[in-house]
């Protein structure tokens, strides 16, 4: 029993890893530009189809990940330039417009790939599992990979935001947009680049999820909603909010799903989040209100 619990919490870590990858892009966009991309789920889905395409051409997943990043980042660029750049100052209506974008992406993908799901293979490297205990369940390599990738993505993001010149500008825009603009920072360009980067991360998430769930048209939505919850729980005042929120939600859902079932797990985690926001109205790492 204790063994099982241990394995489940390891699995939860793997789920949290996926959540970090899925939520990081969304959280960065929300943190900097203040808009929530309702098409995030569809961006993830596009990333998954890129992986499926690469897989069908005999390419490896390690090729699919950068390719998904690039393709979805370009998609993000198109969406940002075409729609979102006009409505940054109306965050609530951005939700609606990007929802529309999501619908359009869905239909187009349906036209191209049909409604059937596409299976995506594993790289051989990730087959097999770590045998921590003699008896199954073992800890599969791909979970290790998810956690490692999540850490890598957070590290890269940390580096970009806190150590580069670009990151300095991003932080300036986030703290005080008009002031940053007055100091000669092209805020529109920062928004655009951040949107591309965040979208690209969604693409990576899709490419990583595809082998476990297969690429389907509606696969992204539940990950997107989980990502929104990561933002609500973790907050966007600090990048640490993303791993924290993901960890709590991933572990919570996995362990509760193990004890009860998936739906009850999600329900209880949701209730916990709603109660948590009474204590942390802007997330655990939200902006501190001036006191």
């Amino acid at each position: 029993m204790l063994q099982q619990l241990f394995m489940q919490s390891l699995n939860g870590l793997g789920v949290a890893g996926i959540l970090v990858i899925a939520a990081a892009g969304l959280a960065i966009i929300f943190g900097v530009a203040g808009v929530i991309n309702m098409a995030h789920g569809q961006f993830i889905m596009v990333g998954a189809y890129v992986a499926a395409y690469v897989d069908s051409q005999g390419g490896s997943m390690f090729l699919a990940i950068p390719l998904a990043f690039i393709v979805v980042a370009i998609l993000g660029l198109v969406v940002e330039r075409g729609v979102i750049q006009w409505i940054y100052d109306r965050p609530l209506e951005t939700l609606l417009a990007t929802w529309g974008v999501g619908i359009i992406i869905e239909v187009i993908m349906k036209f191209i790939f049909g409604t059937l799901g596409q299976k995506v293979g594993w790289p051989d490297l990730l087959d097999g599992s770590i045998k921590i205990f003699a008896r199954p369940p073992h800890f599969p390599y791909y979970r290790v990979f998810h956690v490692a990738l999540a850490i890598a993505i957070m590290a890269v993001t940390f580096y970009i935001i806190y150590r580069t010149n670009f990151g300095l500008k991003v932080r300036a825009v986030r703290r005080n947009r008009s002031m940053a603009g007055c100091l000669g920072i092209d805020t529109a360009k920062i928004d655009m680049l951040i949107f591309m980067y965040g979208s690209g991360l969604a693409g990576i998430a899709g490419a990583v999820i595809a082998p476990i769930k297969a690429a389907t048209i509606d696969m992204g939505f539940s990950y997107a909603v989980s990502s929104y919850m990561v933002i609500v729980l973790g907050g966007v005042g600090n990048l640490l909010g993303i791993p924290t929120g993901s960890f709590l939600i991933g572990e919570g859902e996995t362990l509760l799903a193990f004890r009860y079932n998936t739906v009850i797990g999600q329900l209880l985690v949701f209730l916990a989040i709603v109660i948590a926001i009474r204590v942390f109205p802007r997330g655990i790492f939200g902006y501190q209100e001036r006191r």
Binding site: F30, G34, I36, V83, W86, I87, R90, P91, L92, E93, T94, L95, L96, A97, W99, G100, V101, G102, I103, I104, E106, V107, I108, K110, F111, F221, S222, V225, Y228, M229, I231, V232, N261, T262, V263, Q266, L267, F270, I273, V274, I275, I277, R278, P281, R282
Partner: protein
Amino acid sequence: MAINLAGGGATVRKVRRARLIPLWALILGALVMALIGTSPHYAGTDSYVVGLIGKFLCFAIFALSVDLIWGFAGILSLGQAVYFGIGAYMVALSMKLNYTLENATRYGGNIPDFMEWNGLTEVPGFMAPLLSTPVAVALALAIPTLLAFIFGVITFKRHIYGVYCAVITLAEALILERFIVEYQAYTGGFNGITDYSNLRGAPFLWVIIAVTVVCFLGARVLTHSRIGTVLKSIRDNDVRAEFMGYNVANYRIFVFCISAFMAAGAGAMYAAWVGIVSFLDTGPLLSVEAVIWTAVGGRATIIGPFIGAFLIRGLEFVLSGLDIELAGRSIAEYWQIFMGALFIAVVLWIPDGIVGTIGNWVRKRGTGTLGQIREDQDRLAHDRQHDWDPAGATKPGEERV
């Protein structure tokens, strides 16, 4: 320079207020009634058109409930279908239970078929109260209102609104949807609740119309009364309202509960009218769609949601029924692209919606654009006071520290 602080006293003290029931609404309503009353479709109450009208009216009330919180109080909920859906499920369950009491299933049981499939042999105890129709209707209205109250207390009291509120409500809708699919023994799961005697027909259509009129008037009274002004003030500037001594959270909870009540009523009538409910009626999709109906019709107007719901649902009906091929695919497949484009177009180009845009246009014809008004009046103010000079230049010789 003489400045008269005592006031001119020559002004006409008249407050312009919209009439509670505008004349055009009366005429329009009477016209619609006459159309329905004299329509040949009406004779055959099974007719598709009558069926659609009842359904659309329920959706219109639902959209109105979204408009109340979004248009008039500035709360965007992407999970309003939760309240619509719970209302619908309560009524559908009640009707299904009663229906199967009299009409045995294929396997001869007197419990709903989906319960049978899932190995239940009798109606679970907690569902027994639903056998009574008044209790079911009361529950269908009370449970969503109570849920909305609890949700409101948790979130609004902690100043959670805007984008956060939107995504939390969205997650709420998604989870309820999954809950219904998972617990299929009690909810019919993926298939929903079907095959019960619906109330589609002339008498119930009049009930729906009556409820619609009541909701329309109720919303109109609410938003045009003094409390409506407070709600709008909270939408415009919640910080100011709080410093004016209004407990903003309580007002938000209040309007959120009214909205949930209205949505639940719409859902209850919908279930009785259509005769089938499914998990989709509680999910994020319907929630967002209702927001779009409101946005298309016109936010912060009462008639807007009605127009939006009828227009989009009607278009959907017409377009998905058309048998036209485009690039090898039927137009029904393109329908969703059109919807998506509409979402974007409304937000980008007609943020005030159809009714709001027409209103702006009428006002513009009458008095010039808002910008012009502002300019004119700034000039007037300038002439009157001789002091409006944005540069704020100090006159020579004036003492300044």
